[in-house]
């Protein structure tokens, strides 16, 4: 086979391979949409995070604005400390409320941000003061039972 034809077929093969990598990155994966050019970290403390995991989405008004970066336990206050990165394009007021919510009945858990009305904005590294923990089903049931019993 001539050198030119060989080069042509190999070039065709490599181009096809690279095109499929690109397809996997852009169409299958989320390189295009979730590529936060600049992001900043915020921290929130929760009494109970339920089943929240690293890389879980952070949503505000239902739109994904960030991802959970790290979860660890604070041995002094016995609380869960959740660090998450927020897309640099978005700013939230100082009195923003962080809740742990569940997508659907059995879906994954995510952090919801409810913006407050403060004029000062959260900066990188700030701690969100007002949080609401995950709903634990057993607690909910026992609360309901106690209420019924006291009636």
């Amino acid at each position: 086979m001539s050198r030119k034809l060989l080069d042509l077929w190999v070039g065709f093969f490599v181009a096809l391979g690279l095109a499929s990598v690109l397809f996997l990155a852009l169409k299958v994966g989320n390189l295009s949409s979730a590529n936060f050019a600049e992001s900043y970290l915020l921290t929130a403390k929760f009494v109970n995070i339920g089943g929240l995991k690293v890389r879980a989405p952070v949503k505000s008004a239902g739109v994904v604005v960030g991802r959970v970066a790290e979860v660890h336990f604070d041995p002094e206050t016995y609380e869960a400390v959740v660090t998450f990165s927020i897309d640099g394009r978005y700013r939230f007021p100082k009195d923003t409320f962080a809740l742990i919510l569940t997508a659907g009945l059995l879906g994954e858990q995510y952090i919801g941000l409810d913006p407050g009305g403060d004029e000062k904005m959260l900066k990188a590294g700030d701690v969100i003061a007002k949080t609401q923990s995950a709903v634990v089903l057993e607690k909910l049931i026992s609360q309901f039972m106690f209420n019924k019993a006291s009636e």
Binding site: V14, S20, K27
Partner: protein, 270 residues
């Protein structure tokens, strides 16, 4: 020392055979390691004649295109059908895209493509080098002061290493397309949900990139096994055929074992 009884004699010969086998295996492993180092050392020399490597990419990469794409398409279509069958019981058929894409990109793409590559390209590399050895072409090259590792072995090795990740990516891409074909076009899962849920759950760095790294590692393993088996073949018709068998069996085992090790490192829940 008294003469050993026949029972002792049998026992001793079994132990000796075991020792012989272990020694043999260790020697082969040592030889394979030295061969790999020699191969890396000669790579610079063989890259100076790049058209040799390009030729090998043509033979092991381009000629595997058809089998890789057809298998990828069928595996994607089967995943689409089976996944839909299970997911619709829980009312979450919309998650079909996630299921197809994640299982292909993380596992099936790299692993099945590498298994196909080992039997399609690896075996032919072994056969070629083994036959060259059997007909004393490698010795002849050595006589003419042409290093057979730089001239014959290294281009085939690098051709395989370069082709493998591209083939695995192609396999995953055609598989996702097959899943789309069955899920969206034939069964009628909502197209928007199919793609958007897929994009929301497939992370480039976490899923796609680790699939590419996996296929690169498999490429190195399969190509090394293929060229070594050929180079180390017993130079007879029987020896070459047993080397080819060795390539396919050892590559398959190496791919599956490496896949377990890599997966346990990459997808550890933090």
């Amino acid at each position: 020392m008294s003469k050993p009884s026949s029972g002792q004699h049998v026992l001793l010969s079994i132990v000796a055979r075991l020792g012989h086998q272990v020694n043999d295996a260790l020697q082969r492993l040592g030889f394979a390691t030295r061969f790999f180092i020699m191969l890396l050392a000669c790579s610079g020399q063989s890259f100076r004649r790049l058209n040799l490597t390009i030729r090998e990419i043509y033979f092991s990469g381009f000629q595997s295109l058809l089998i890789i794409m057809v298998s990828g398409l069928f595996i994607g279509m089967v995943l689409g059908m089976q996944g839909y069958e299970t997911l619709q019981r829980y009312g979450s058929a919309d998650a079909l895209g996630v299921l197809v894409a994640l299982s292909l990109v993380r596992e099936l793409g790299p692993v099945v493509a590498a298994l196909l590559f080992a039997s399609r390209a690896g075996s032919s590399i072994t056969a070629e080098i083994g036959l060259m050895k059997a007909t004393e072409q490698l010795t002849a090259m050595d006589m003419m002061a042409v290093n057979p590792i730089a001239r014959v072995v290294a281009p085939r090795f690098w051709g395989g290493v370069i082709s493998m990740p591209l083939l695995a990516a192609l396999f995953s891409a055609t598989g996702v397309f097959g899943g789309y074909l069955i899920g969206v076009v034939f069964i009628g899962v909502d197209e928007g949900a199919f793609w958007s849920q897929m994009q929301a759950s497939v992370d480039f760095r976490y899923d796609v990139w680790s699939g590419i790294v996996k296929s690169f590692v498999f490429g190195v393993a399969v190509s090394l096994i293929a060229v070594f088996e050929g180079y180390d073949a017993v130079p007879t018709a029987e020896g070459v055929s047993s080397s080819i068998k060795g390539t396919v069996v050892k590559s398959a085992l190496a791919i599956l074992a490496l896949d377990f090790v890599l997966t346990s490192f990459m997808f550890r829940e933090t």
